[in-house]
Structures are given as structure tokens and as C-alpha cells.
């Protein structure tokens, strides 16, 4: 007999009409992974990597530093009380010394409610000032080329048995899985929940799917990731992203980043077993035409901040189960160049968002920007290793005490950015 051809929409509507779906919001799947009683999973971790070395000095602006203004005659963000500048071009004051770029204003609510923590002058020991070397080492979580090839999140997943069988335990949003997620736990790239299906004629798709299932066996290279992809096809089939309503009219930006965050929020609420999501944002290598309160970088910061602010609103009821980490491979030169941009520097900063963080504070020792305080050719020095921050989040928020496996050979120091989860070991 010939299988009757259903369009995908018919199929979804039929699934939604099925009685089992009635007790759930229409966009939710039937299955919930990680049933009660397995090891406590800790927070859901979202890692946002700003590719290209973000200029953190114009994000978390040291407006109390005269040297900052001397080094950046055209690119500096004016002081919060600078009457010469328009109000919407000035830094948003945080604590009298630091302020946020004006495009990051959407994050002030999270800051005031104590859910946004910042760590300044934070970074890695690597001095290559090479994007590719620095990103590789940072995502592997190692000090130099020796050490494991896997990523730090990959080792976190491998060393914490949460009894979570979900194929969506960890995902990379976008078209490639970031290096930090590499390791023994397979991780799939997810671009769009709505498009995560084989499409076209349903009968032909079903036949192909059964053929794929028989060919992707564990012995094959790519076998395990293929099986996982097939499982995700099944899991996501009953999700209806078009019907998803963010809470409290949270307004995600219409950008790749906004769409990624919106999908992650949906997966968290649907309880599909998501533990880690990694999202990349490119475009931060601002050698040329970086801009100050407006321009190239302001646009990137607007996207970043309005996205995170929407997530903060949408997941207001889940904040104690959420840790967001925003990081970049290194910072940029303190002095601007002649093409209205900044060259590769050293010290960076991290942004942390979640209910279990010590928010409303800029953490880390400030090394200063005076001549003798700079590092190398004129860069912000590093006073906090990024692994100090991540180790604390692994221990206190992800319930994974095995930081010596996650960051081999590194002795992390306390930073005080994260509160201990009640169920942390």
C-alpha cells in the first residue's frame, strides 16, 4: 500500500490535537528527560563566545580612569556625567568607577536585581594575540598546546554523570559545534527547531529516516552523532516553535543571536534535558571603524544586551537554574589606532547572568591603565584567570566538583562570583 502523503503542517496539527498533548502548552513535547531522582544536574549553562576579541574597555567602561580618555580621544565612551556628550552616548554608571556602554542599557535591570555579575581584567595567560591560537587554548581550557584536545565543556559533560539520556543534553546553536564542547559526549549543532526535520514528502522522509537509522550504527565513524541526530528529530517533532510565547512579553531581537536565545529558552521550559548550550557571535575584531556610542560595535552590543535582557525576562521563573557566561578570546589595545579602531590586546572581561551569581558587582582586581600598569605593547593586564571564574561556576552552579579534570594542571583561585547551589555536593 502507498503511505498517504501528509504535509508537515497536517502532521503537526494532528500531533497537537492528540489527547496526550492537551495537558501541555501546544509547543511542548510529550517527553521530559532526566526524570526526578537522578543526580542533581545543576544549572543550565549557556556560554556565549564573542569571536574576534571584544573590546571590553568600551563595554565595561572604566570611566574613573583619566588614562582611558587620554588613550582614546575618539573612541572613548563619555563619562556618565559628561555634559558635553548627549545623554544616550554616555556610559551607564554602575558603581562610580565602571559603567556600561550605552547600548548595554537593557542590562541595567538585571544589574539592579543582582543577576548580572562582571569580572574585569580577566583572561588567559597566552600572549600570542592570535585569535585562532587564543580561542583554541581557551576553548580547550589549557595553558599551552599540550594537554587534552577535547574542550572544557566536553570534559565537564563527560565527568558529571547526571543520568540524563537526552540527545539534547548539550547543543551548539549555529552551523558548527564550538571547540569547547568537543569530547566523548556527542554534541549536535542546532540552527532552527522549526527546520529540524527532513522535510518534503513525509513518506519519502520516513523511508529515508529508517534507512539512516539502519546505517548509523555505533561502529561507524559518525555513527553515534548520527543516532543522536535521529533522536533529536524525534524529540523536536512535537515542539511547535511558532506557537512559543515568551513570558512577560520578553522581546528577543530579530537576529541570529536573538533567535538562538529564544530557542534555548524554549528548550529549557520544555524540559527536554538541556544542560549546556553554546552560542557564538562573530564580528568583534574591530580594527577599523569600531565607533564609540554609535557604530559597528554599538550595534553588536545592542544585539548582545537586548538578547540577554529578553532571556532574563523570559526565564524570570527559572533564573535560579540558569548560568549564562559571556566571554571572548582576549581584549584589545588600550590606545586606539588611526583608523578609528583598536588592535589586538590582552586582558578581557566576562559577563555572567543568572539567579545564583553574586551580581551587581564588578569582580576582579583592577590593574589600572597608566603607563607602568599596562601589559606588553599597551594592553590591559590580566588579574583573574578565566578558569578561576569557570571553575567556580562548575563547582557551585553545575554541581561538578571535578574541576581538576575540566582544567587539567590548573589550580583555580576563588573569585566569589557564584553562590553555592543548595544541592551542590
Amino acid at each position: 500500500m502507498k503511505v498517504e502523503t501528509l504535509s508537515r503542517r497536517d502532521f503537526l496539527q494532528a500531533a497537537v490535537r492528540a489527547p496526550v498533548a492537551l495537558s501541555w502548552p501546544a509547543w511542548m513535547p510529550r517527553l521530559a528527560f532526566a526524570p526526578e531522582g537522578v543526580a542533581p544536574r545543576g544549572d543550565t549553562l549557556i556560554v556565549v563566545f564573542l569571536r574576534g576579541a571584544a573590546d571590553v574597555l568600551n563595554m565595561v567602561v572604566p570611566h574613573g580612569e583619566d588614562f582611558y580618555y587620554q588613550a582614546r580621544p575618539t573612541l572613548a565612551i563619555p563619562r556618565p556625567d559628561d555634559n558635553q556628550a548627549q545623554v544616550d552616548q554616555r556610559a551607564v554608571n554602575l558603581d562610580g568607577f565602571f559603567g556600561l556602554h550605552p547600548a548595554m542599557d537593557p542590562l541595567t535591570e538585571a544589574w539592579q536585581s543582582g543577576h548580572l555579575a562582571l569580572v574585569h581584567a580577566c583572561g588567559a595567560p597566552d600572549e600570542s594575540r592570535s585569535h585562532f591560537r587564543a580561542m583554541e587554548l581557551m576553548e580547550r581550557g589549557v595553558s599551552d598546546q599540550r594537554g587534552p584536545a577535547s574542550g572544557w565543556i566536553g570534559r565537564h559533560l563527560a565527568s558529571l554523570n547526571t543520568g540524563n539520556p537526552s540527545p539534547l543534553r548539550a547543543i551548539g546553536l549555529g552551523d558548527q559545534v564550538p571547540r569547547s564542547l568537543r569530547g566523548s559526549v556527542p554534541v549536535t549543532a542546532l540552527q532552527s527547531i522549526a527546520d529540524f526535520h527532513l522535510g518534503g514528502d513525509l513518506a519519502a522522509a520516513a523511508r529515508m529516516q529508517s534507512l539512516l537509522a539502519s546505517m548509523y550504527t555505533e561502529q561507524e565513524p559518525l555513527g553515534v552523532i548520527g543516532q543522536e541526530t535521529l533522536e533529536i528529530l524525534d524529540t523536536l517533532e512535537s515542539l511547535d516553535p511558532a506557537g512559543y510565547q515568551p513570558a512577560a512579553q520578553a522581546n528577543y531581537p530579530q537576529s541570529d543571536f536573538g533567535r538562538s536565545l529564544r530557542q534555548v529558552a524554549m528548550l529549557i521550559k520544555a524540559q527536554v534535558g538541556l544542560e549546556v548550550a553554546a552560542i557564538d557571535i562573530g564580528g568583534w575584531d574591530t580594527h577599523f571603524g569600531q565607533g564609540a556610542g554609535q557604530g559597528l560595535m554599538a550595534g553588536l552590543l545592542d544585539d548582545l544586551s537586548s538578547g540577554l535582557a529578553a532571556l532574563h525576562t523570559d526565564l524570570a521563573d527559572h533564573l535560579n537554574e540558569l548560568s549564562v557566561v559571556v566571554m571572548s578570546e582576549f581584549g584589545r589595545r588600550v590606545h586606539e589606532n588611526a583608523s578609528l579602531g583598536t588592535d589586538h590586546g590582552h586582558g578581557s572581561a566576562m559577563l555572567l547572568l543568572g539567579g545564583g551569581l553574586v551580581g551587581g558587582q564588578v569582580h576582579g582586581a583592577w590593574p589600572g591603565l597608566a603607563e607602568g600598569q599596562l601589559f606588553g605593547p599597551g594592553d590591559l593586564a590580566v588579574t583573574t584567570d578565566y578558569r578561576d571564574v569557570l571553575s567556580e561556576i562548575c563547582r557551585r552552579r553545575l554541581n561538578n566538583p571535578a574541576v581538576e579534570l575540566i582544567f587539567p594542571g590548573y589550580q583555580p583561585r576563588a573569585v566569589g562570583v557564584a553562590k553555592r547551589r543548595p544541592d551542590a555536593s
Binding site: V187, Q191, L198, T229, L233, A338
Partner: protein, 495 residues
């Protein structure tokens, strides 16, 4: 057949002119020029030879498999290394319709970006699909990645057209130093890595760093942050003309740092444009550059892990590079005949990057394709946007970054099998008929084409099951299912 270049150009023009006169559409041009074929009889190859061809072509066709069956892979490599553009009439004729690709930058600027990029991308893919000079196109791809430029930056959307023609294609069979100098003065590169705004008052280090880190010495090649800053000073004033002769290289003495400099231990006295040229000479012939390029070439053509799996090949290629003064055809010869061919029996698999995946599905099936937008949309979903990799390292060349994104490959496989890809089609009836002529099972016939061996056991048993469930599947539907399944299979993802 021996043609002079002038004869060739006239002939190709006449063929394309005939095509253009009737409708200028790709399928017609493809048929008139002889670039498009119908599926013919398939010559089965030993696994090592099939793998070798998969590595060096964009997917084997009857042309390559029958040649290799008769003469061997080494002879095929020799033949390919000797081919010239005049040996590639059908593909060159097909490409005549891309008129924008012959224009200069100041002419291109007035066109719509979509149109310019459409031609650039379609031409690249059609060359990979239909050029007889398969190995040449593989090398073009290597250098395109090595000197990566994203058309999403500034005016690169039209400047890359000139870079593709006058830098990459002009020098890929010449000397590395010439390629490097041409790239350094390529307006597309000057814009992409910001050297066009590199001025004496506060230099922009972007290009100065990447030319040493990525294009020549390598990140461990022995340069320092100080060398980056000093080379950036040498490169001040290297820019792009804006009004008259728009889009041409220019050296602006007023923007150039007049002081003396020191790069890689060399004292550089004031000499204007010559300062950076001297450094480029040094970089182009440096032993660290030879080592870096050899490692990358071996990674691309032999193994993901050159230093572990094939250290002798890296040494041999590096030695040839230095001895031959960077003469690239000599380097390719060592790489392929000494580095690749002896390893064919135990060649470590390489994953197909998205371009490999799509082309190696289309070529063995004798697909007719305009190389157009729908294929490039698929490539972007798979993670390899054409001429739009954002960062200067180019798309990665090892398996890991690509292996987590299978679904877009499966989606393409199904669309192609169901004939739903705009501008690209396969002739299922002809493939079924050809399989019947080959007197084998259709599954084995298609599997031989696509993966170089008969259908695997997993596939066989699943087919049996599907047949039991839906016994009315006609031969065409069965062939479509096989095409989708084979292209989606784990084996097909490797070459």
C-alpha cells in the same frame, strides 16, 4: 587536439555565443558546450584508487574512473598536472555566460551585489562540477581558503571577483612569492584585513599580523609582537584607490611611516613601498613558511594529522618548496606523487566538507546544475558559505568541526533525490536504465558510483524491510530512496 590560446578563446566564445543567443540559460549552455553528460557505464575501481580520486577530484565521474582503471592514479595525477586551460573547453564555454567575472573593479561597482556574487559563486561551483582540470580546481580551493576573504566585508563583494581572477587563479600554478605579493596588493585583501586604512600616525596591525601568522610563517614561526608592529609600519600607506581607477592598489607616500624599521632581525631603511616588498620576499622564502605551507597542504590532501601521520611527507614537501624557490607545481608534484600516492592503501579518511559533500553527490550521478543560489543556500546551512567564511583562517580542514551538523546534509540528500533543488537535477530514469544495463542490482550500481563499493549490509537489510512494508515502491522511487540514503550515509561523509 592542440589549440593556440587565441583559437581557444574564439572557439569558446562562439559556443557560448550560440548558447547566449538562444536564451543564455545554464542548461542550454551546458548541453551546447558539452559540459553536461548523461550517466554512462561505470568502471569499478580498487578501493584505494577510488579513495585517491575522491581526494583529488570533486567526486569521480566515468571520465576519471575509466582513466584510472586503465592507467593508474599516478598517471592520472601526471595528466592533471599537465592540463592547461585550453584543455578544458566544455567548462570554459559554460562559464562564458558569467560576463561580470571578466570586468575590472571600477566597472563592477555599478552592479547589484546579488548579481556579482551570484556569478562569482555559480562560476566557482560550476568549475568544480564540470572542469576537466579537477586537481587544478582543488588547488584553487586550497589557496582561496589560505588567503581567505569574506565578501561580507566592505567592498569585497566586487573586489573578490578581481582577487579570484588576478591573484588566486593567476598564480596558483606559479611561484608562491608571486602569489603572496599579488595577495598583499590585492584590493580585496587590503579591505578585508584593514590595511587600506593603515596610516603612519597609529598603524593598524591587522594584515601585518595575519600575513605572518596565517599566510606565511605560521603562529609558531618565530615572529614577535614587535615584528607585527614593525611590519605594520612598513605597510602604512598600502591602500586602495577610491575615485579614479577605483579599486586599484595604491601606495600613498603621505600616509607612510618614514622612519627606519626592523622586522625579523632585518634592518629596513626608508624606501617607501619597497620596504614591505622586501619583507614579503623574506616571508615568501622563509623555512618556517615552507614548513607551514607543507603542513597545510598535507593536511588538505593526505591526513587531518600531518605531523603524526605523515611527517616525512611534510618534510619532503617543505624541502621541495625551498629547493624549487617556491615553484608551486614542483611542490604539488612532491605532495601528490611522494606524499599521497604511496599512502593510498592506508590513507586516513578525511571528512567531506560541505562543498565536497555536494559536488561529490552531483558528479558521479551526472547531475545538471547551474551552480546557483539554492546550492549555496544549502552550503551555508551546512556551515560553509561560499566566499563568506568570516575569519581569515578560512574554513577548517579537519573532521571535528563538521561532524556535529549532519541534518542539513540529510536534508540536501532528500531534496536532491526528490528533484526539489532549484537549478539542479539528476536523471533518475537514466540512472535506473544504466543500472539495468550494468546488470547489477540498482542499490549496488548507485553505491559503486557514490561510495566506491557495493551497498553495505545495514542498507541491504533496511531496504528489505522497507520493501516488505511498501511493496509498491516502483524502481524510480526505489532509486530516489537509494540516492537519498547513500548520500546521507555515514560512508558518504568521508573521502
Amino acid at each position: 587536439m592542440s589549440l593556440s590560446r587565441r583559437d581557444f578563446v574564439r572557439l569558446a566564445g562562439a559556443i557560448a555565443g550560440a548558447a547566449a543567443a538562444s536564451s543564455a540559460c545554464a542548461p542550454l549552455a551546458g548541453e551546447l558546450t558539452g559540459a553536461y553528460r548523461a550517466p554512462g557505464g561505470w568502471t569499478e575501481l580498487a578501493p584505494a584508487d577510488y579513495r585517491g580520486l575522491a581526494r583529488l577530484t570533486y567526486g569521480p565521474t566515468e571520465t576519471e574512473t575509466s582513466f584510472v582503471a586503465e592507467h593508474g592514479l599516478a598517471a592520472w595525477i601526471e595528466e592533471q598536472l599537465g592540463l592547461e586551460i585550453t584543455d578544458d573547453l566544455p567548462a570554459e564555454g559554460l562559464l562564458r555566460r558569467f560576463d561580470l567575472l571578466r570586468m575590472q573593479a571600477d566597472q563592477l561597482e555599478g552592479w547589484e551585489p546579488e548579481e556579482v556574487l551570484g556569478q562569482l559563486r555559480a562560476a566557482s561551483l560550476q568549475r568544480q562540477l564540470y572542469s576537466r582540470r579537477q586537481l587544478h580546481e582543488r588547488l584553487i580551493e586550497f589557496w582561496t581558503d589560505h588567503f581567505n576573504i569574506s565578501v561580507d566585508k566592505g567592498e569585497c563583494w566586487f573586489l573578490k571577483v578581481v582577487d579570484d581572477r588576478q591573484v588566486i587563479r593567476a598564480h596558483a600554478q606559479g611561484r608562491f612569492a608571486d602569489l603572496l605579493h599579488a595577495s598583499a596588493k590585492s584590493p580585496a585583501m587590503l579591505v578585508y584585513l584593514d590595511n587600506q586604512v593603515n596610516e603612519a600616525s597609529a598603524p593598524n596591525e591587522n594584515y601585518a599580523r595575519e600575513v605572518m601568522e596565517l599566510h606565511t610563517l605560521g603562529v609558531d614561526g618565530g615572529y614577535s609582537q614587535r615584528d607585527v608592529m614593525e611590519l605594520a609600519r612598513c605597510l602604512t600607506g598600502w591602500t586602495v584607490k577610491d575615485h579614479f581607477w577605483k579599486g586599484q592598489f595604491a601606495f600613498e607616500p603621505d600616509l607612510h611611516d618614514k622612519g627606519s624599521k626592523q622586522v625579523l632581525g632585518m634592518a629596513i631603511e626608508q624606501a617607501g613601498v619597497v620596504e614591505a616588498e622586501r619583507v614579503l620576499d623574506e616571508l615568501g622564502a622563509h623555512p618556517a613558511t615552507a614548513e607551514h605551507l607543507a603542513t597545510k597542504l598535507v593536511r588538505r590532501f593526505v591526513t587531518d594529522h600531518p605531523l603524526e601521520d605523515a611527517p616525512e611527507a611534510v618534510r619532503a614537501v617543505s624541502r621541495t618548496f625551498l629547493q624549487a624557490g617556491g615553484h608551486l607545481p614542483s611542490v604539488y608534484r612532491t605532495l601528490l606523487l611522494d606524499g599521497l600516492v604511496p599512502q593510498l592503501d592506508q590513507l586516513p579518511p578525511k571528512i567531506k566538507r560541505p562543498v565536497d559533500f555536494i559536488t561529490s553527490a552531483l558528479r558521479p550521478l551526472a547531475a545538471h546544475s547551474d551552480g546557483g543560489a539554492s546550492l549555496h543556500d544549502h552550503l551555508a546551512l551546512m556551515g560553509q558559505p561560499t566566499f563568506a567564511w568570516p575569519t581569515p583562517d578560512g574554513p577548517p580542514d579537519t573532521a571535528d568541526p563538521w561532524s556535529g551538523n549532519l541534518l542539513p546534509r540529510w536534508q540536501f540528500a532528500l531534496e536532491l533525490a526528490q528533484d526539489e533543488v532549484d537549478g539542479t537535477s539528476i536523471d533518475i530514469d537514466a540512472l535506473v536504465e544504466q543500472a539495468q544495463r550494468d546488470e547489477g542490482h540498482i542499490a549496488d550500481s548507485l553505491s559503486q558510483r557514490l561510495v566506491g563499493s557495493p551497498a553495505g549490509r545495514g542498507m541491504q537489510s533496511a531496504l528489505g524491510q522497507i520493501r516488505r512494508q511498501t511493496d509498491e515502491l516502483d524502481p524510480q522511487d526505489m532509486a530516489r530512496l537509494l540516492v537519498a540514503g547513500l548520500i546521507g550515509s555515514p560512508q558518504f561523509q568521508w573521502r
